[in-house]
């Protein structure tokens, strides 16, 4: 791998799904023409946030090779991941990219002991450092603040959600991956335990050079740990940039709405103005132009007709005519 080759390089990927019955068959683009890259030199935490159904999970699953893109390419360390065929290539790929799932209670078979997953992983992936299988398991568990003593002989239901999620992370770390793909890893975890997982991610990035794609609805934790954030809406990335910039001063109207809708945990910030929500989802998917136009307060005539390009503004990219070539003089500050 050369020095300046990206770790992950997503080129214009699209995933179409057919929805509806036999009579009203429609195609929706769950992910529409998304490009994204993560650099190899410096580990980072990239948050994917946005609407429900905007394609975050679909995007993550394409990166993990669980779903095949309809169009576009995903390069991992320069290699097209759709060209992976043999078990050996598959193992090499999985050694580098590991998933963390949403529901820690679902991530392990309830009828199996937890350690069996740890041994299985250690057995199937070659160690990058030396050491026995036991040592590798123990050091992965230590990284997440657990030890084999607490895990041995235990079944999933004997641990709390937070502990289980840490076991999940430890299992993934045994393969010593360069990238973790975590789809809502804390949404099922109790508030009193949530920060332990979030802090763990931060620690993995800061001290162990693991990059993380962090999918979440919880923008407060996103702000707390991530470097960059990508906001998705109806299959598109509508704004992407450093988290401090995007959340402190959102540009895209959807990001602004999202930012305003976050409920801060103190009783002084209650919002008042009412918002319009989409009524019929498939109609929005089928829209021409900007998919947010019908709900957007600052829409321009062009928004209804032509899809806006992704433009660079103030250290971030925004997919909105207000900041595109045509609307630039209007509102952009």
């Amino acid at each position: 791998m050369s020095r300046n080759q990206p770790l992950l390089d997503i080129h214009n990927i699209t995933k179409l799904y057919s929805v509806g019955g036999w009579l009203s068959r429609n195609k929706i683009a769950a992910v529409a023409d998304v490009s994204l890259s993560m650099l190899a030199e410096e580990p980072e935490i990239l948050t994917l946030a946005g609407e429900s159904g905007s394609g975050k999970t679909t995007l993550a699953r394409m990166v993990l090779r669980l779903v095949e893109p309809t169009l576009g390419r995903i390069l991992y360390k320069g290699r097209d991941i759709t060209s992976i065929r043999t078990r050996k290539e598959q193992i090499e790929f999985m050694q580098d990219i590991q998933p963390i799932f949403q529901n820690p209670f679902e991530a392990f078979n309830p009828l199996k002991k937890l350690e069996s997953y740890l041994f299985e992983t250690a057995k199937n992936y070659d160690s990058r450092e030396n050491g026995s299988i036991e040592d590798r398991i123990e050091s992965a568990l230590n990284l997440v603040g657990l030890s084999m003593r607490e895990i041995r002989g235990r079944y999933p239901h004997e641990l709390s959600g937070g502990q289980l999620q840490r076991v999940s992370v430890a299992r993934a770390l045994i393969a010593s991956p360069s990238l973790l793909v975590a789809d809502e890893p804390v949404s099922m975890i109790d508030a009193s335990l949530r920060m332990s997982i979030v802090n763990l991610f931060k620690d993995l990035k800061d001290r162990h050079n693991v990059s993380i794609i962090y999918i979440t609805h919880d923008l407060a934790t996103a702000y707390y740990i991530s470097d960059r954030i990508a906001i998705m809406q109806r299959g598109h990335i509508v704004e992407i940039g450093p988290v401090k910039k995007v959340l402190a001063e959102p540009f895209h109207p959807y990001t602004r709405l999202l930012r305003e809708s976050i409920l801060e945990p103190n009783s002084e910030t209650a919002w008042d103005e009412e918002i319009t929500l989409s009524t019929i989802e498939t109609k929005e998917f089928a829209r021409q132009g900007c998919k947010f136009a019908n709900r957007c307060d600052s829409r321009l005539p062009i928004c209804e007709e032509t899809e806006p390009p992704l433009s660079f503004v103030d250290g971030r990219e925004v997919k909105c005519w207000l900041y595109g070539v045509q609307g630039k003089h209007d509102t952009a500050s």
Binding site: L64, L66, I91, M94, Q98, P99, F101, Q102, N103, E106, A107, F108, N109, P110, L111, K112, Y117, E120, T121, K123, N124, Y125, Y155, H157, E158, S168, R171, A172, A175
Partner: protein
Amino acid sequence: MRGFLRVVADLYRSDPRCRFAFTAISIVIMFALMSFVSPQDPGSSYYAPPNQPPSVAHPFGTNSRGQDMFWFLTFAVRNSLVFGVITAILSRIIAISIGLIAGYKGGIIDRIMMVINDSFVVLPVLPLLILINFIIREQMSILQLAMVIAAFGWAWDARLIRSQVLSLKEREFTYTSVFSGTKTSSILISEHLPFVMPIVLSTTINNLLWAIGMEVTLAVLGLSNIGIPTIGTTIYWANQHQALISGVWWWIAAPVAISVLLFVALYLLVVGLGAYLDPRTRLQRMKGVLSDERA
């Protein structure tokens, strides 16, 4: 083995259905095992006075060929049971492999397997079996008959298993195993099989019942190897000798009574075991025992 005995003990203690089933099945099996100490060979005849009603000397009476029904039936029940078990095992092997593989692999493999599967589901089983047995009945041993019947007894169950695996493979723990580098075959066996075990078990017993019933049907029609004593051929011979008309009702009543006992017991066992093996109750049990131990 200790685990198995504990399960049996658990079930025996807590579930009256299972208690009855275990008792009845043990009686039937003991009865079949007594064939090994039978003073009479099932092939010999006229060693006893014919057409005797049940008495102390001949608890199930004797038939028109001078055979003691008690000892004769020990052989018949043994053969029927062996036949049923072999059929059930053979058809389970097919059903489990096809169900697991088709469900997990999906795509073209699944489609091809399901076309074959569905052909077997819609085939009219009885007429076909009659045809096959009509052609080759003379030479058929119990094993061969079991193979023929097993070939028709797996398709529906394979579909059931497949549909469960279809949902299991989308569960997150399957992905955890995939990303642990686990081979597909071990995922199927160690992750998915325990979840399909309840249907596997209940369909095994159903299949056993079906196979024994099928054997009776074919035998009564005279379409199996009537030289081998089974529950079916016993009834066939009783009919041939017009047992009911001549008042030798025990010739038919004895095999029918034993099969009814066996069928009811196996049915209750399906129900009881199904509840016990259900992963949800299994999990609750695991949790329950735990808090109990700690308390």
